[in-house]
Symmetry: C5
Subunit: 254 residues, 5 copies
Amino acid sequence: MDLSTLLGIAAAFGLMLMAILQGGPLSIFINIPSLLIVVGGTIGVTFIHYPFGDVLGAINVAKKTVLYKETSINDMIAQLMEFANKARKEGILALQGAMNDVSDEFLVKAMQMAVDGQEPETLRSMLSTEIEYIQQRHEKGATIFLSIAIYAPAMGMVGTLIGLVQMLQTMDDPAAIGPAMAVALLTTFYGAVIANIVFNPMAGKLKTRSQSEVLLKTLIIEGMQSILSGENPRIMEQKLHAFIAPKLRQSTFK
Amino acid sequence: MDLSTLLGIAAAFGLMLMAILQGGPLSIFINIPSLLIVVGGTIGVTFIHYPFGDVLGAINVAKKTVLYKETSINDMIAQLMEFANKARKEGILALQGAMNDVSDEFLVKAMQMAVDGQEPETLRSMLSTEIEYIQQRHEKGATIFLSIAIYAPAMGMVGTLIGLVQMLQTMDDPAAIGPAMAVALLTTFYGAVIANIVFNPMAGKLKTRSQSEVLLKTLIIEGMQSILSGENPRIMEQKLHAFIAPKLRQSTFK
Amino acid sequence: MDLSTLLGIAAAFGLMLMAILQGGPLSIFINIPSLLIVVGGTIGVTFIHYPFGDVLGAINVAKKTVLYKETSINDMIAQLMEFANKARKEGILALQGAMNDVSDEFLVKAMQMAVDGQEPETLRSMLSTEIEYIQQRHEKGATIFLSIAIYAPAMGMVGTLIGLVQMLQTMDDPAAIGPAMAVALLTTFYGAVIANIVFNPMAGKLKTRSQSEVLLKTLIIEGMQSILSGENPRIMEQKLHAFIAPKLRQSTFK
Amino acid sequence: MDLSTLLGIAAAFGLMLMAILQGGPLSIFINIPSLLIVVGGTIGVTFIHYPFGDVLGAINVAKKTVLYKETSINDMIAQLMEFANKARKEGILALQGAMNDVSDEFLVKAMQMAVDGQEPETLRSMLSTEIEYIQQRHEKGATIFLSIAIYAPAMGMVGTLIGLVQMLQTMDDPAAIGPAMAVALLTTFYGAVIANIVFNPMAGKLKTRSQSEVLLKTLIIEGMQSILSGENPRIMEQKLHAFIAPKLRQSTFK
Amino acid sequence: MDLSTLLGIAAAFGLMLMAILQGGPLSIFINIPSLLIVVGGTIGVTFIHYPFGDVLGAINVAKKTVLYKETSINDMIAQLMEFANKARKEGILALQGAMNDVSDEFLVKAMQMAVDGQEPETLRSMLSTEIEYIQQRHEKGATIFLSIAIYAPAMGMVGTLIGLVQMLQTMDDPAAIGPAMAVALLTTFYGAVIANIVFNPMAGKLKTRSQSEVLLKTLIIEGMQSILSGENPRIMEQKLHAFIAPKLRQSTFK
């Protein structure tokens, strides 16, 4: 699992638990009907907003993204430079053999298109369309998480309003006012936690991962197009290096 | 009816009702003048904002969208590939006969244009304009729903302010303060429910459906243009597959 | 006057008045100094933000837009098709005679340019520039209304803060606290009403009208360019139909 | 000075002062430490956000913009038409003599480029770049004003929180609670006034002025390019008229 | 260190401290568990949102940006003009020798490409891609700071809700209510300070610096392309001057 997500969740929830326990028992923060209206209500509203398929897709995207082992951009540049040299020496068809050792599906597809004899421009245009729709699918996942981060506090407010109205209508016993209001505030609390500690930052991680993936795929298109056009390897390396910070650039030319 | 919308509404309202009933009678949440000012006021403000025709159009768009049976993208790809093969073997005019079995009006129009001998570029440009204005009409529907989701809480706040001012001006009987404030809060509650459980998520569903429909129509343009240009079916399939996630792609070539 | 605006304002204010009267006398909602600070302050701030000319322009745009009698898009398509037939049969100069019966100034200008022998591309480019600046002027009007809808609640909050500070500084008589706070809340109430029931929805109507007008003018450009290029009337009709929903399309060809 | 700004500020502050004085002495709204934390804190935060040079630049832009005497677009069109006629009759070099009577620096530069024999396309591209960077500098000024309008209420809230915490920690004397809270609210009041009555609307005026200036400069480019290309004066006038509302257009041709 | 940042932080924190000390001891504003939940929780949530590498990168970008010594645009224009004259007199290869005295890495790279004999268009396209990705990396840094400025107040609200619920559940001793609420408000206070006095303005400074850097690099591309194309130095200077305000322009031609 993605380490920073794991540690972040542990830290945020741990510190919150500590703050709670330091001031009293945990039990006063647990109220099943309040949880039901916030969690259940948010799930309900999410299904009004999105079709089933999209919600399941978002869960999948999230799972894959968190488990995802990122490919180093430098490794990818090195691999593309190797293919460029191979193609220069042995011809473009030599990439056929190299494809078996490649795990990145997108790179395999690009190489297959190169071996099939596609024009550089066709390769760029078809793979760019593919990236565009990958981005759309990723964005849909992040958007669903963001929607949940909006609906959860809204359901929390609805719950608090229900609690307040009931408390105000039955204010006979002054001693009961405090605890009743405490319970009414719990739904707001649940909504804030769900939104700010879980779904907002998770939506952010989905977006960050999507950006890395798109950057890597754009690099692959750029590189394969250079290879197909038979561009000078030094120029090609300079082009690929533009994608990364200067101090990360490791030239294969000495 | 769209299942996830139905279940989502049932779940959200059911859980809210449960939370209400668990704390007291439902009757304290029903107040006709409060309902009138929020619901009626929101309708009034919506008609200041939008012409009659647009509001009726939005209701229509919403109805159709919720009842809409989505066409599978994979089925559409399969159908387009079949037409491509037919056109290659029997000529583009063979599509004339195939049009009777097609239910999608947009596809029928595209096929008619192909049979009429339009240039691939004209077909793309005219159908793209059509998609653009379809999107505009869909967007208008979703925008009206979003506006209602903004006006309802605003009217709720206006109602609560009216209630608060009246309560504060007549604070003779301390026992009456609680219930008066409870009633004042009801308009805020109605506004929050209307916005967050009905119109915000419904606007979201309209947008999601619009995106699926536009994706399908873009696929149709892409496919028909390939057919008209007499493109290699394998290339055409690769192009169409770029629209969907890799694991959903089913090649017709083995 | 635009009917939906009129009815919407009547409904929203009527329901608000009803809610007020049902709970007490109207007089407790009328406070001249509060009105002065919200209305006068908002006007003042609007003149800091916009030059005199722009504010007057916005009032004009609003007046014209609300009084504006919308041209049916279908009527415009029919008229353009008629001109197309006339031009095909009698030559483009025949439009000179037809110009007298046309009330739309933009259409008259487009026809004059056609009769003057402008190239189709020049006609499109000059009229497109014109649409662009019409849009800019409309947008400025709507933007001023939106600014007022932001400043009014802000001035309301300033007024409420003034009232609260004064009330808190002189809390000798507990019986006076309620009414003093009621008066302090009035400015917030005025701000909310001005923003949500008047200027936000009016800004919306300005935008909607502007969109209809731009759509109509874009249609005129599209049609006149087709006529000038001597395009096939069936193709021209198909092009113009792309602007409207399929079920509204009425072909002149049987 | 720009009249509407002056009158707007006078009206907004006058009405606010009236509302304050009508309810009690002005002195309860003046608290030096509160003023210091809001005004000083906002200045401090603004310098964290922007380099010294940018803040000084913004003050300059604001000063010039408010003092700025707007050139009428119609006058500019008349002047450009005059130059067009001169250039047609006496040749483009005749503009050399006319430059001495021109006060607009941008127009002088455009004329100099025309006299120097630049190509129409070079003139447009170089002057468009210039407009782009003028816009960037104007925008920076407006953005700084908007930032201040965001930071001032934030510092107001920080001040109020400080006051509230101190008041809540020392609630021995109930009679002191009201005045203490009144003082705590003052920072919120200052923040709201600074943001809503000064910096938000001033940022708006900067933007409006910038738009007028850019419109005028775009008109100059359009006109000089027409002159350089030796375009028909009637066509040129029609092009320039597209920039303004139909009823403001005054043709020089009868 | 960047002076305005330093002075701004000193002023904002100094004034806040003054306001605090003037009303009571500093100690009532220091509460370790409250600090832990806001600071620690914000750090945790930031790591859920961003991968470790990105957060470290943001710290680096921030450090460099604050320490960064800005190059004067005028100096850069002068240097580019000097190179242009050198290249005109001694040929483009003469820039090889001049490269040793240049400290700006981006300018060195541009000169190397010119000396290597790249086409003007290739130079522009490759260096533009480089600027684009530099902007992306800068933006990521600013975005992380902005996220922290959103999460800190959110964690502050979560902390305040925890404190309120605990206080309301145990309202036996009325004297304890005030201090308990004061402590509950502290997390909101911490969140507001972290967001508004530290991370929001720092994100702003990162953006401002990034814009200056991009402007300088764009100027370098523009200049080197002029040099490579052997453009007239006067024209080149005019082009470069478009980047800065008229009154800052110092011509090298008298």
